[in-house]
Amino acid sequence: MVPLNWYLIVAALLFCIGLYGALARRNAIAVLIGIELMLNAVNINLVAFWRYLTPQLISGQAYAVFVFTVAAAEAAVGLALIISIYRNRETVVVEEIDILKW
């Protein structure tokens, strides 16, 4: 059998990869991709814990469903924002969008 911690390790790795992508990439869409990876890692964690620790409850799956929903909504809004920024600022490079400062 696959031990739980293997799943957890996979999720952790995926999460860190996604983190790297969110933090290091210049393109805003690439940042969003990284965020999606992180959310997926979270989902894997959730489902793994549900399957191994409380499979009789449906909470785990319900929780995962909600994470899906939120991820979808967030992706939609985020991409809409990026498009709007692209139209206004002619750029999708996150580094160049820096006016919210002193």
Binding site: A12, I17, L19, E36, R51, Y52, A62, V65, F68
Partner: protein
């Protein structure tokens, strides 16, 4: 090593590899495609975890909607697709280091809980779709978050339309 374990290792390796390529790829369109691959891998993991519905939802939602949306956005911000500028920003090394540290920490923490190392999956699995559906609309379970989620989706919908609308108000 059992078959299950082997299967698991193959699927997760594929997923992880795809993810890595996604975040490293200079070409954004390719990155989006590799994302799709990663998402497929995750769906496969869901299947291995006997959460079939979730796997389906993953494919439908993530790959069918989100990834598509991402590809649309890439198309709409197409100018950069052809430019071969730096893919990563100036602090990429710090992010890499951080990710590395975090991995180490997480693995260390995960390793500290012995219960997780040896837990065998339990046999009694509920998880039919009907149960999920019941749980989502049952007043003493998750009807409130369900409704809120629907409101949130509405808001996101409207918001996205407004933000991304062309021209003036």
């Amino acid at each position: 090593m059992t078959v299950g374990q082997l299967l698991f290792i193959v699927v997760s390796a594929a997923t992880l590899l795809s993810a890595l390529i996604t975040v490293i790829n200079r070409n954004l369109f390719h990155a989006a495609l590799w994302l799709i691959a990663t998402l497929f891998g995750v769906a496969a993991l869901f299947v291995l975890l006997e959460a079939g519905f979730l796997a389906a939802v993953q494919v439908l939602l993530y790959i069918g909607a989100i990834a598509t949306l991402i590809i649309f956005a890439v198309m709409l911000t197409r100018r950069l697709m052809t430019e071969t500028r730096e893919a990563v920003n100036s602090e990429w090394w710090l992010s890499a280091a951080l990710a590395g540290v975090l991995i180490v920490l997480l693995i260390a923490i995960i390793g500290r809980v012995p219960a997780w190392a040896s837990t065998a999956p339990q046999a009694d699995v509920s998880g039919s779709i009907a149960e999920l559906g019941q749980a989502l609309v049952s007043p003493d379970l998750y009807v409130l978050p369900f409704e809120l989620a629907s409101v949130m989706l509405l808001v996101a919908l409207i918001g996205a339309i407004i933000i991304a609308r062309e021209g003036r108000r």
